[in-house]
Symmetry: C2
Subunit: 407 residues, 2 copies
């Protein structure tokens, strides 16, 4: 029995968080430094961008959680600390500042940065902000809200979610915050996603759980086709819920994975819906695929098509672009069996059967596509597998936001 | 010695062309039907979209040139004749109408269509327009101009180019017209490109020449990452220049390929510069690559990045996005050796050396990037291979044009 609860990363027992403005950003009303801390050491795991150009914090985080444990996460926004000659030194410096401020060993700190690539990041503002950051650590909604707000860049809404689930009769909680709005086409991890849980789970099983989960969550989401240099998903599991540690596959592991999936899928929807300039969430549901890979490939190709995304912005039921995107996806499908429908809270409309157009009311189609969450349902009629992918429409504002991001 | 000449597809000896409004489009001022005819049978070759969803005209053209010969090309705009139950029948019908009107065997007709996918195409307007189309066939600039105009969809300028070259002391001419503005991410062929030449060349060598040429021309161009269902490049070589037929590799074949390259590269520049909503042409030059594949992959990834394209629209020297796009390209490069410069008719500016940013004047950078043709020069410093790719900026107008294309 899974239930959504409030509190984000502070919903699980034993986690506190905070976010402050330390001065990396010029705008004083925008927080730019976040900290999440567990009251005890936690098992930890992370996945990272596949981009060959990697932010310096990724190298440092990898080293710090190589032993499977961590206790705190620090993240700044406003500067990606990437393509800088002294990047690793700065990221290590951030960890050392955490140790000085709250006593968690620097080697147990997960470090992340997000913002402009290729501009030197100074430790000075971070050092100046640490006292306030540490003093304001809070459990519950306030702490998570402060951290979730501080990691935002072009995001227009904060992303946080949490749920409870049962492991062997013990109630566990898993929560997460995320940032991500543009440069979103994760390929291994995504954007910045920080997860916390009070479930007890071994490092190996924790890693297994997130590696499996991302195949159908963050890997299936795209805003603009650009894979960031700083993508990272990390999770800390501190075991304070009191369940017997999960050390192998089985019912307890499955329960944990379901809780994880609940949080990650909701974060995916939130990130896609808040895509830069987006006016609506697009969910692409593919079923009837011969195999899982085909279902994923087709769903991802459709939500990545600039032409389809532009049509969705215009509420134009241009299903030919759906077929076109399926056709160039590389998936092995029988075009003559494809069905396409559009569904939203405003209704549903069928537009394509057996790979060819069917007559439909443009008026109803417009109505269906005008909703702020639209599902495009693709039936391949060739098997039993299915997949879901999340994206958004392509709008004038995406261009506007990105035409002059640095200044 | 290669020289550009006027006359497009009618520049080579023995070719006539025309374009008329026959009524497929509602707008009577927009021509929608084009015809190109050689006075004798010509060797012919073509390459097609790799999209699994293919326009019906492609199946018909494939069958018609299977013997290596053709004599005419017919193309309509306003309707792609794709995803229609009776598509092949209609495309065969178009060929039959050509035979009736000008006596060229239907089996020697190359057929193409461009426009909306999934709406039935009626033969009626085409039949009605054939007499005018045939009667108005002209050689020289007028004929090519009429055909080039008739195949345009969202194109804002017609694309035509021609050049002369010497084969064994004989002057040959090769010309081309193209349409293409959106849904441009060719993968095998591109958009619609019709080439004509009076050089004598065997079907096998003609095919070899275009298959080799597209690797560094249309394959290296992208407007929006969407590969169309109707992409096609075709060429007819009627031999009227009088050179000894090219039947094997060697000097004569190389001369032919150089003429071909001159025309195709110029068409690539024209198509990219006229990309939907584009305000500028972006040329990405990669050198110092360890191998050709790496150079191509890097160049293509950069011009395909939505974030980089948006930055170019804003004349923002955000070179971090260039490194980001190189990083996720899949190419095996040493990031720490990468140099990046921007060059235009307004000057040049170096922004990155050895994978890290260097101080530069934002003012000069803005000036350089404000030109309507901008080159991004990437040095990988790891070898001798190079590649060029063509693209354009991503603008508000791209979205506007595609948000409601059908209505």
């Amino acid at each position: 029995m899974i239930q959504k609860v409030s509190g984000g990363v502070c919903a699980p027992k034993g986690f506190k968080a905070n976010g402050v403005h330390c001065g990396i950003r010029k705008n004083k009303t925008k927080k730019d430094l976040a900290l999440i801390v567990s009251e005890c050491r936690a098992t930890a795991a992370a996945v990272y961008t596949t981009n060959l150009v990697k932010g310096a914090p990724i190298a440092v985080t990898k080293a710090h959680i190589a032993d499977g444990f961590a206790q705190a996460m620090i993240c700044n926004s406003g500067n990606a600390n990437t393509c800088n000659a002294n990047g690793v030194e700065i990221a290590e410096g951030m960890s050392a500042l955490v140790e000085q401020a709250i006593g968690v060993a620097a080697a147990d700190v997960i470090v992340a940065s997000t913002g402009v690539i290729g501009q030197p990041l100074s430790l000075e503002p971070i050092e100046g902000g640490m006292a306030e950051l540490a003093a304001g650590l809070e459990s519950g909604e306030v702490g998570s809200d402060n951290a979730a707000t501080a990691i935002m860049t072009t995001d227009t809404v904060k992303k946080e979610v949490a749920c409870t689930f049962e492991v062997d009769g013990v109630t566990c909680t898993l929560g997460g915050i995320a940032k991500g709005s543009g440069m979103i086409h994760p390929n291994m991890a995504t954007m910045l996603v920080f997860l916390t849980t009070d479930a007890a789970i071994s490092p190996a099983m924790l890693k297994k759980a997130i590696l499996s989960d991302i195949q159908d969550s963050f890997h299936m989401m795209s805003v603009d086709g650009d894979t960031s240099t700083n993508d990272m998903l990390s999770i800390m599991a501190n075991g304070l819920a009191g369940n017997a540690e999960i050390t192998e596959e089985g019912e307890a592991f499955d329960a944990f994975c379901l809780g994880l999936q609940t949080v990650t899928n909701e974060l995916c929807r939130m990130i896609a819906k808040d895509g830069e300039g987006a006016t609506k969430l697009i969910e692409c549901h593919v079923d009837g695929a011969a195999d899982k890979g085909t279902a994923r490939t087709v769903a991802k190709s459709v939500i990545c098509s600039s032409l389809f995304k532009s049509a969705m912005y215009g509420a134009d039921a241009n299903w030919g672009r759906v077929l076109c995107a399926i056709g160039y996806s590389g998936a092995d499908v029988d075009v003559s069996k494809i069905d396409v429908d559009f569904v939203s809270s405003n209704g549903m409309i069928s537009v394509c059967r057996d790979g060819s157009g069917i007559p439909f009311s443009e008026e109803i189609a417009k109505e269906v596509l005008t909703a702020d969450e639209v599902k495009v349902m693709i039936g391949l009629n060739s098997g039993e597998e299915s997949a879901v992918a999340w994206g958004c429409d392509l709008t004038y504002d995406y261009v506007k936001i990105n035409a002059d991001y640095r200044t």
